[in-house]
Amino acid sequence: MAQIELTDVRKSFDTTEVIHGVDLSVAHGRFAVVVGPSGCGKSTLLRMVAGLEDVTAGSIRIGGRDVTGVEPKDRNVAMVFQNYALYPHLTVARNIAFGLELRGTPKDEIRRRVERAADILHLGGLLERKPRQLSGGQRQRVAMGRAIVREPDVFLFDEPLSNLDAKLRVTMRLEIKRLHEELGATSLYVTHDQVEAMTMGDVLVVMNGGYVEQIGAPLEVYERPASTFVASFIGSPPMNFLAAEVAGREARFGDKRLALAGHDAPSGRATLGIRPEHLVVDPETACLHLSVRMVEPQGAETIVHGVALDSPFTVRLPGIHHIRPHETLPLAARSEHLHLFDAEHGRRIG
C-alpha cells in the first residue's frame, strides 16, 4: 500500500515561494497526472516527492510513512527523467541494473529482474547496446526499465515524452498506460500536454503558478473545470470565453440571450465559456455569428478560427468542411454545454 499524501507542502527558493501550500492525496495504485503551464511548479512538486528538493514547510507521506526528511534512496521511489538520464558509459542492461547493483542485489536476482523488465518493455535485442545507439523511443523504454526493475512503491515521471516526436508520443503514452495497468504501482506523472493528461490520468492535478487549481478525474475536469484557467488549459483548442450578463436563467451577451438551463448562477457580470467542439453550425438556432479568419483542416475535423462579439473564437467541426476566410458562420450551442465563471476571479459559478 503506497498512497502518496502531501499536506500543505510549500517550497521556497531563497526567498521566493514557488509552491504555495499543496494538499494532494494519490491513492494506492492510481495514476495521477500533474499538469500545468511551464514554470507552474510541477517539477518542483515531483522532486520534493522524490526527495531531490527539500520541503520548506508541510509534510510528505508515502505509504503512510512520513518521508519529509528522508533521503531519496530510502523512499523507494523511482523516477523517469525528461532527458532519461541514461548513463552513456553503461550498456542498456547495466543501466537497468544500476539501481540494483547499488543496493548489492545478488547477481542472479539482478539478471532475472533485468530480463523480466526487458521482456515487459520489448528491449530484448538491445540489452548490450549503449544508449547512444538507441532511438528516442528506445531510450525512453530503457528509462522505464530502469524504474520498474527496482519494483518501487511509487513511480515518478517528469515529462517523459516531451522529447519524442508526435507519432512516438502517442505510442509511448499507450505503452506507459499499459505498463501501469500491468504493474499497478502508484504513479505521479508530470506533463504540460493536456492530451497526455486527459488520456493517461486516473486523477488530474491542474496547477497554476504554484497553486493547485483543480483535482479530479480527467473527464470531470473537462466537464466541470473549476476556473477559467483550467477550462482554457484542458481541452484543445481551448474553451472560448465571452463576457456576459447573467440575469435569472438567462445569459445576455451583445444583443443575444441564451437560456441557462440547469445553471444556478447568481445574477450579475460573468464569463461565459463554450468549448469549440460544442458549437454547431445551425442557421436556425444560431446565437452567435463567427466571422472566419483562418481555417485549419485536420482531416477528421476542421478547426475554424475567427472573431465573435469582438472576442477571438474557435470552433471545432467534425469532418471536412470547405469554409473560407471572411465567411460568416452561424453558431449554436446547447445550454448544458455552457460554463459560467465569475467575471472577476474566473472561479466556476455554474
Binding site: A50, K73, Q82, L102, L156
Partner: protein
C-alpha cells in the same frame, strides 16, 4: 564529428587561407623533419650541409646506438613511466574529488578556496627547489621516485579542468542515481567519474607530457642512478658545457625520449582532441 567543409567553394580567400595554413605547417614541421633526418645521418662533422633536409646519405642507426649506450634506457623508461603513471594516479584521485567539490557542493568561501588552489599554477619552480627538497627529505622521500612525484599530487590545473568537466555533466545523471539509491561516494565513483572521463584524459595528457619531460626537479630529488628518469639520461649527452656538437646523437636521443609520447598522440589524437572538447574547456 565530421563537420561539413565550410570552404568548399574555392575562392581567393579560401586559397589564401590554405596557403597560409600550409606555410605555418611547413615552418612547424621543418625542425622536426630535420631532427628526424639528423638522427639517421651518419656522424658528419665536416660538411656545411648538416641542415640539409634532403636525406642524401645511407641512413644509419649509429646515433641511436650511441645515445642508447650513454645510459641505461630500459631502466630510465621504466622509471619515467612509473613517475608519470604514479603521479597521474594520485592526481586523478585528488583532482576528481576537489573538482567535484568545487563544481557541485555549496560551502562558504568556495571562491576563495578555489583561488587558493590556483595559486599553485603561479609559483615559479626555481624558488621551490630548496623548500620542497627540505620537505621531501623530512618525509623520508629523498632520492626516491615518490619524492619526484609528491609535489605534483595536488594539481590546480587538474582541479580546474575537472571542475569544468563536472559542470558540463547534466544534473539529471546525479539525481537519477540518487533516486536509484546511490550514496554520495557511489555517485562520485560510479556515475560522475565515468562521465568525466574526457576531462581526465585531457588532464592525463597534460600531466603525462609535463612529467615525462621534466628535468630539474627529478635531478634534484634523485641521486641513485637506479631512480633516474629519461630526461636526466638525455641531459648527460645534450647538456655538456664544453661538449662539441653531436647533433645527430642529440636528435636520436630526443627521439628516443619523445617517441612514446609522439606515437601515443599520433594514434589517439582524435580522442585527445575530443577529450578536450568534452572536458568542459570551451
Amino acid at each position: 564529428m565530421a563537420r561539413p567543409d565550410m570552404t568548399r567553394h574555392a575562392n581567393p580567400t579560401a586559397l589564401l587561407a590554405l596557403a597560409a595554413l600550409s606555410a605555418v605547417v611547413l615552418v612547424w614541421s621543418t625542425p622536426l623533419l630535420w631532427m628526424a633526418i639528423a638522427a639517421f645521418r651518419p656522424q658528419n662533422f665536416g660538411g656545411l650541409d648538416m641542415a640539409s633536409l634532403w636525406p642524401d646519405f645511407v641512413p644509419t642507426l649509429d646515433n641511436f646506438a650511441e645515445a642508447l649506450d650513454s645510459a641505461d634506457f630500459p631502466l630510465l623508461y621504466l622509471n619515467t613511466v612509473l613517475v608519470c603513471l604514479g603521479t597521474l594516479a594520485v592526481q586523478l584521485t585528488t583532482v576528481t574529488l576537489a573538482g567535484y567539490a568545487f563544481a557541485r557542493l555549496r560551502f562558504r568561501a568556495k571562491e576563495l578556496v578555489f583561488y587558493g588552489f590556483l595559486l599553485q599554477l603561479m609559483l615559479v619552480p626555481p624558488i621551490l627547489i630548496v623548500p620542497n627538497l627540505v620537505t621531501i627529505t623530512r618525509l623520508g622521500l629523498y632520492d626516491s621516485l615518490l619524492g619526484v612525484m609528491a609535489p605534483y599530487f595536488a594539481s590546480a590545473f587538474g582541479v580546474f579542468l575537472m571542475r569544468q568537466t563536472f559542470r558540463t555533466i547534466p544534473k539529471d545523471f546525479e539525481e537519477a542515481a540518487i533516486v536509484d539509491g546511490a550514496t554520495w561516494w557511489q555517485l562520485v565513483w560510479r556515475v560522475l567519474v565515468p562521465l568525466a572521463r574526457p576531462g581526465m584524459v585531457a588532464f592525463g595528457i597534460v600531466s603525462v607530457v609535463s612529467h615525462w619531460n621534466e628535468f630539474l626537479w627529478p635531478l634534484m630529488v634523485v641521486s641513485t642512478p637506479d631512480n633516474q628518469t629519461l630526461t636526466i639520461g638525455l641531459a648527460s649527452f645534450t647538456m655538456g658545457a664544453e661538449s662539441a656538437s653531436q647533433w645527430g646523437v642529440i636528435a636520436a636521443g630526443t627521439f628516443l625520449v619523445a617517441a612514446p609520447l609522439l606515437a601515443a598522440f599520433a594514434l589517439f589524437q582524435r580522442q585527445f582532441v575530443n577529450s578536450f572538447l568534452f572536458s568542459g574547456v570551451k
